[in-house]
């Protein structure tokens, strides 16, 4: 938003009309062509770009994984050199955890939030575009290292001293360190945007107990990111200073402390894991009711357990460090916290099962993915519970058991719900349905391939196979299990390929969806598919969690979707209060702008200058950033409304 003005009085509720739609179209439409591509601030456009870019990184990371699986298919293979293997597993981790898992959720949230809220855009549309461009450029920055043959090679966790200048003299780690600080900018501004959007732009009447669960998920993830990203950005900055300027934050013998890195990294890293699953759990919580034909069982419990998971998630990072020689008292505390964090997850699982039980499930492809996710979530959850027990972890940690665990968590609780979300919301985004028959093939290939590939990793782990080894001896007894894992992972990859085929085919030939193909209950289904640039011709008023189901849930008339506020005097949306969502202001929104792209581009050159020590380049780029920001922060030229002290309420 560029500015906000107090509402003098609520405008009248009006019915949508073609004239109103035409006026809004003229106000909100993005410029056509390439210019519009660079200037767009439309949350739907940005959301889809986020999703497509994140998926591209998923495919890259997946190909890296398949190469590793070929190398590990048999003992003593020489397909990859140790250096190649190390760079592949590092890039695989970075791609999946940083460049796919969070951005794909940001993409869905970006696309869906204003539609769920009955708003016309996110609170800060230009910041939204900036967060996308910085994500894209940071991802390309890190992948530039890969293309130049100097990819990061020390794992995504990047432990010192192996990443210090002495043990790792190349430019590889500098790419990663600066790339992560760069990516941190994107995550931070994106998270702030989500939090403010939630606080200010929900439809009148959408009090916090009426928000969809995925909103709770993204809210808690965003708050966590704002708190923990500074920790990892600082750690990477300190490492970069150690490597390039001879500081001694982590260097042994000069007063530095390697374990400090692990604390700073995991203080960020563990909450991050919850941040990349909680919004996806929200997809399940919001998706299951659509296909079980009833509201979610235990909405309040699920919402609270989302928040509780995140709160507890700040206090469990040391369970990544049980073997570092930490005192027994600290071990006990973190072991206890890591066990307790199971409880909110268990509550969510019970509520999902109860929703299916008490509902009337329709076996769509999306439902398959959501139900499959519950099973995978439980397997990933109990293996996490096992590692929370300190003495057991001393045996399990850094073996393939943990590789199995992390993949059940990230694929089970992120990829499966995300594909489910595609089947659910693709019709909204594209106006066309994904093919259901292909969708079920897609599910079963992924589900069987995944379990065939990744369940045996638990057993490889129990049989002692360590993580991050580029080969193994036939004497260790892991050969058969690894061959099965490789076969399963290729089957899984074929499943993902089938999904991509489905998307490509359905974009052209899919059945036309209409506004509400699933007969779902929330606001995004009240507008056309795909929605117009202004989302809703009139901004609805909300009186329940399922405005479109009210007539059938004995709540008829609580919401007003057919009539609402017009706000057609400029790019405007309604500002509402934080808890109860009472209208209190008109938010003026900016139009198309070059500024986000230019700021992202200038920032990229700051980091390139820092990477190659060309300080004049970094300095000039920094000045360019300042110039863009001066234009960005220029007060808008709209005539201010006359402020009135008292807001009128619904």
């Amino acid at each position: 938003m560029q500015s906000q003005d107090r509402l003098t009085a609520l405008p009248p509720l009006v019915a949508p009309s073609p004239e109103l739609a035409a006026r809004l179209q003229a106000l909100w439409e993005t410029a056509p062509g390439l210019r519009g591509f660079f200037m767009s601030v439309d949350h739907k456009e940005i959301g889809i770009r986020y999703i497509v870019t994140a998926f591209a990184f998923l495919i890259l990371g997946g190909c890296e994984a398949l190469l590793m699986r070929l190398q590990l298919a048999g003992p003593n293979m020489r397909l990859l050199t140790p250096e190649q293997y190390d760079e592949l597993f590092t890039m695989h981790g970075i791609s999946m955890i940083f460049l796919y898992a969070m951005p794909v959720l940001s993409g869905f949230s970006n696309y869906l939030w204003p539609l769920l809220f009955g708003a016309r855009d996110m609170a800060f549309p230009r910041v939204n575009a900036l967060s996308y461009w910085t994500f894209l450029f940071a991802g390309l920055f890190i992948y530039a290292a890969f293309i130049m043959g100097v990819a990061p090679n020390a794992g995504w966790f990047n432990y010192v001293p192996y990443t210090g200048k002495a043990a790792n003299p190349g430019i590889n780690i500098d790419f990663y360190a600066l790339g992560m600080i760069f990516l941190g900018i994107s995550t931070t501004v994106g998270s702030i945007n989500f939090v403010v959007t939630l606080m200010r732009t929900r439809a009148p009447g959408m009090s916090i107990n009426r928000m969809p669960v995925m909103v709770w998920g993204t809210l808690t993830a965003s708050l966590a990111n704002i708190l923990v990203v500074p920790s990892v950005s600082l750690a990477f900055l300190m490492l970069w200073l150690d490597r390039n300027f001879g500081t001694h934050f982590f260097t042994v013998g000069d007063g530095g402390q390697p374990v400090l890195w692990q604390h700073l990294f995991w203080m960020f890293g563990h909450p991050w894991v919850y941040a990349i699953v909680l919004p996806a759990m929200g997809f399940v919580s919001d998706g299951l009711p659509i296909f079980c034909r009833r509201p979610l069982v235990g909405y309040t419990l699920v919402a609270l357990s989302t928040v509780a998971t995140m709160a507890l998630g700040f206090g469990v990072w040391v369970h990544h460090m049980f073997a570092t020689g930490i005192s027994d008292v600290a071990l006990s505390f973190f072991s206890g916290a890591s066990l307790v964090i199971t409880v909110p997850s268990a509550i969510a699982v019970f509520c999902w099962i109860a929703t299916i039980w008490a509902g009337r499930p329709i076996a769509t492809a999306a439902f398959h993915f959501y139900a499959g996710m519950i099973a995978l979530f439980v397997i990933g959850g109990v293996s996490g519970f096992m590692t929370a027990s300190v003495p057991v972890d001393w045996q399990l940690t850094d073996t393939y058991f943990v590789v199995a665990h992390i993949h059940y968590v990230l694929i089970g609780i992120n990829v499966f719900p995300v594909i489910g979300a595609f089947y659910t919301w693709f019709p909204k985004m594209s106006g066309r349905m994904l093919d259901e028959r292909l969708g079920k093939w897609n599910f079963w290939l992924m589900f069987i391939g995944f379990n065939l590939g990744f369940f045996p990793m638990h057993i490889s782990g129990l049989l002692g196979m360590p993580r991050r080894i580029y080969t193994y001896s036939p004497d260790m007894g892991w050969s058969t299990l690894n061959l099965i894992t490789t076969l399963g992972s290729f089957l899984f990859a074929i499943g993902v390929l089938l999904f991509i085929v489905n998307v490509v085919v359905s974009l052209r030939r899919g059945a036309v969806a209409g506004p509400n193909p699933w007969d779902a209950g929330t606001l995004e289904w009240a507008t056309s598919s795909p929605p117009p640039p202004y989302n809703f011709t009139v901004i609805p008023e909300v009186g329940s969690r399922h405005p479109l189901w009210e007539d059938r849930l004995g709540d008829a008339g609580a919401s007003s979707v057919a009539r609402g506020f017009a706000f057609d005097e400029g790019r405007e949306t309604l500002g509402t209060s934080m808890l109860d969502s009472e209208p209190d202001s008109v938010l003026r929104m900016p139009g198309d702008s070059w500024l986000p792209f230019l700021l992202g581009l200038a920032t990229t050159f700051v980091f390139i200058g820092m990477l190659i020590h060309v300080w004049w380049l970094a300095g000039m780029a920094l000045i360019a950033c300042a110039v863009v920001l001066i234009f960005w922060l220029q007060p808008d030229s709209l005539p201010p409304l006359i402020p009135i002290e008292e807001a009128s309420h619904v």
Partner: protein
Amino acid sequence: MNGFPLNYVTSEGTKAAAILPLTKGVTAISLAVILIVAALILAAIFRRRAVGGPHDLVQGTTPLHWIYIGTGVTVAILLGVLVWTMATVAAVVQPKDEPALSLDITGHQWWWEVRYLDQDHPSNIFNTANEIHIPVGKPIRINLHAADVIHSFWVPALSGKTDMIPGQVNTIWLQADRPGAYRGQCTEYCGKQHAHMGFTVIADEDQKFEAWRVAQVQGKTPQEDDPSAIADGRQAFKTHCGACHTVRGTAAGGIVGPDLTHVMSRSTIAAGTLPNAPGWFAGWIADPQHIKPGAKMPVLDISGPELHAVTTYLATLN
């Protein structure tokens, strides 16, 4: 489980044995939870229910009491596991008896330096590498060091992992309950040859261990009556290998690589990578970078006859 030298579902040592019931217990709970939830999901999907039209919604009260019951059971199980966990930690933190022997073990990229300590008899202190001999039935104290980057010390049959972190010493103990050879492995990613950083713990009865220890203390002083082939080999070893490797009692005194004074007493070479047999050994010296690409041992500029002399000499280091 002989075919799986690094498995931790069996145990041969006091500490591993104390942990194993907990590992099995939480595994059993986990499997039970998976089966119960899978059954619930299937039952929830396939249970008989009244049919309804596509636009009908299910109404009625929500069955929350089952969720409260499920949560209560979960909390009770978790509390039980927490208590069991704490009791197990307390049981394995310290050995019951004072350790019989103290070792310093240092992780290097990519091998293990083992130093036998003796506070009362400094002349009994000696270095070896990649193979750790211990007396059976007695707790052993081990101080873990790292020379370059973080490594992790793990002998699954005897004990869980503890990291070796530069600038800090982590002290652990372990005890073998039966004689045998137990495989160990580095489990913290430490660079290109992390995969080939193994070692063996050999637990022997007291007498056998003591004989081994006494033999290890001895150096290898050159003898007047050494045949010329061995004398030539010693000379070639000094020239090509002595900057990095030590053979106590000779001019070879390098400390970069493993101490080779009694290398023939070990069952493997290159940190558990190859069997210690003449052909393998010659192949390793001739081209270590083929076997362990990236290893710190360079490809030596060594002639065929010199290589033969060196291996002949090494064969005497038992």
